[in-house]
Amino acid sequence: MSILHLVNKSPYERDSLDTAADYMVDGDAMLLIEDGVYAAMSGGKAASKISGMKVSVLGPDLAARGISEEKLVDGVTVVDYAGFVDLVESNDKVQSWL
């Protein structure tokens, strides 16, 4: 049963993205919210941690932090809160990596 992995902390400050990425299995998805969105900025050292994975970021959190969508790692999808709800629905459960 698929898991939506929720990461809300900067990959430079905390270990949560590392662990979440390790726990992603085929069919799972990841959503970056709050300070977690920094992981999706291309050029950053943490970008490699999510490359090749099914990752979305929350658009309002990106905008608040001044990150334009062109700066995102290739393949990352931007969603709004409604899209966040859809991700929760389309996966069988949610794991928040607090």
């Binding site: 929720l6 809300n8 919210i33 709050e34 300070d35 309002p60 709004d80 809160y81 409604a82 966040f84 709800v85 859809d86 929760v88 629905e89 459960k93 949610v94 928040s96 607090l98």
Partner: protein, 130 residues
Amino acid sequence: MKLTIQVNEGPYQHQASDSAYFFTKAALEKGHEIFRVFFYHDGVNNGTRLTTPPQDDRNVVSRWSELAAEHDLDLVICVAAAQRRGIVDDGEAERNKKDATNIAPGFRISGLGQLVEGGIQSDRLVVFGD
């Protein structure tokens, strides 16, 4: 789908309560059912009516109260966590001999079983925290 939302941090210090609020609102707008919003850990501090945020900032507490009134939401504050942090309703004031209450409209204080029940009764549990 039927959802239970857990909020682990208080207002303003962390974005957790903001994220939970906007997620809950979006789920309601999409026609999903919110079985319960459960406030745990410092999350209980979202339920105090004594806040006075700056005029140019959002009011985290009253936003929850208003959403609850509009959609008949069940906003539950964990009693054990609330006792540690000083969130008090009439019943708690009487039981623990407190001379004041501070609970905000639309919130109620109850036990941890309400969270477990949320896990059982809902299709999804979504946790927001630090």
